[in-house]
């Protein structure tokens, strides 16, 4: 049995039951963030999908894959978004290589 149960996503709203003020504030904020603004709701959905992958959140991947389909996002667009996330993750690892290089140069240059 997995720690993750897909059905738990339906219960996400229940977190408010044990801390009403904070839960409500969070969901109000969450709703506001995804409204159409300087970015379209479609663009925000693709950003969320990319972040869902870098966070490796199964619930978020389920939610924003479905959300993308509802917005007419194609599978090619979704995969490109995932690659953006992967590139940032990969880049974030590799850019630390400069730290390693600095340290080597200082200790053994």
């Amino acid at each position: 049995m997995s720690y993750y149960d897909p059905k738990d996503l339906r219960k996400f709203g229940n977190i408010t039951e044990w801390s009403e003020e904070l839960g409500t504030k969070f969901f109000d904020y969450y709703g506001k963030v995804f409204e159409e603004g300087a970015l379209t709701a479609r663009e925000k959905s693709l950003i969320a999908l990319a972040v869902a992958h870098t966070e490796q959140c199964p619930y978020c991947i389920d939610a924003y894959t479905k959300d993308g389909l509802q917005r007419g996002v194609t599978k090619e667009e979704m995969m490109e978004a995932v690659h953006v996330g992967a590139a940032i993750k990969g880049g974030a690892t590799l850019v630390h290589g400069v730290m390693m290089m600095n340290k080597v140069n200082k200790l053994d240059g």
Binding site: R10, E36, A41, K66, L69, Q70, R71, G72, T74
Partner: protein, 355 residues
């Protein structure tokens, strides 16, 4: 040429071809064990039970279930193997009603309505009644399917028909997956031909609207945003113009129900519909302003109830006995499929129903 990839549930003798079996599935499981509320219980919460008709606006007539396509999610279970076709006698009964109805919209649907051999005669006669908005729901590919249909754009124009056509996506892959191989290319060609005679152009009185319904087990997105995306893509890629996009939710009946069950999406889909329930959509749901007539003249609250064989709860049940006052006094028949019309911004044959 459109390639037919599947057969209707009727042809396959699937148990889901039976409306009783569909209604049984919709009433059992998660709705019977109380995991989800029934539709009746839900609308009671907002004091909207029983659902009653308002002023009749739309008379929707299904002239037959025969179609040149076999779309994956068709709620009519239409296809080339369906032989149910409206006769001239029933059409004459419909014409009597069309002449006297208080409805302002006449909406012909199918199957592919154009495949009824009496279709053109019926349109010519019905257009004489001078009804304000005369819709024909054309699947587009029929225009390209055979030489005898090539002049349909001109025919529609001559009778000032409002053309409403299905288009599940602006990309070939998603469209053909749902509606069959070759459907996208044929639809694009047909839309260009409709544009060529003046349909769908800005300011044109020749109305051309598109219907979007999702290609899988998910709900439609915001209608206005989808319209913007469709307009941009179809215009940039193919020079196509149209007026409005109607975003329609797939209702869990017939072939879509079959698909939901086979793909193990049924429960999740019903959860999505119930979670998106919107009482404001109930107030404007299409069965409150529509009467649906089947190919054999029976009367229903909507096209979906027609496919589930849930005839109107009225003394008047057939077009030959039509009486608008009596019909308007009925209770609308509901079941769990009705959640499909009340999710989010709501859904109807005219698209979203709530702000």
């Amino acid at each position: 040429m459109t390639k037919i990839k599947m057969q209707s549930l009727h042809k396959r003798e699937s148990e889901l071809a039976e409306s009783n079996r569909q209604l049984e599935i919709l009433s059992n499981g998660i709705f019977k064990n109380g995991e989800l509320p029934t539709f009746a219980k839900k609308i009671k919460e907002s004091n909207q039970f029983p659902l009653k008709p308002k002023k009749l606006e739309i008379l929707q007539i299904n002239v037959g279930y025969m179609c040149n396509q076999v779309c994956e999610h068709c709620h009519v279970d239409a296809g080339p193997d369906r032989k149910e076709i409206m006769t001239v006698e029933t059409m004459k009964q419909c014409l009597e009603v069309i002449k006297n109805t208080g409805a302002t919209t006449l909406d012909l649907t199918g199957g592919a309505p154009e495949m009824n051999p009496h279709f053109r005669w019926f349109v010519e006669e019905a257009s004489k009644a001078g009804i304000q908005d005369f819709i024909v729901r054309s699947n587009l590919t029929i225009i390209r399917a055979n030489k005898k249909y090539h002049d349909l754009p001109e025919f529609f124009k001559k009778h000032n028909v409002h053309v409403v056509s299905s288009m599940p996506h602006w990309t070939r892959g998603k469209t053909d997956k749902q509606r069959g191989d070759g459907v996208f290319d044929a639809s694009i060609k047909a839309l260009q031909e409709l544009n060529a005679v003046g349909y769908g152009l800005p300011g044109s009185d020749l109305k051309l609207d598109l219907v979007y319904n999702p290609s899988g087990a998910f709900l439609p997105g915001d209608q206005a945003s989808m319209e913007k995306d469709f307009k941009k893509a179809l215009s940039e890629d193919f020079g196509i113009q149209f007026h409005n996009l109607f975003a329609i939710t797939n209702l869990p009946i017939s072939r879509f129900l079959d698909y939901l069950i086979a793909s193990e999406n049924y429960e999740d889909y019903m959860y999505s519909l119930v979670e998106a329930y919107n009482p404001a959509a109930v107030a404007n749901v299409m069965c409150t302003n529509t009467i649906s007539v089947s190919w054999d003249g029976w009367l229903y609250d909507c096209d979906f109830n027609q496919m589930l064989d849930l005839k109107v709860a009225s003394k008047v049940q057939h077009i030959k006995d039509y009486n608008e006052d009596l019909l308007n006094d009925r209770d609308i028949i509901i079941s769990q499929h009705c959640y499909g019309c009340t999710a989010g911004a709501g859904s109807s044959c005219q698209g979203a129903v709530a702000e």
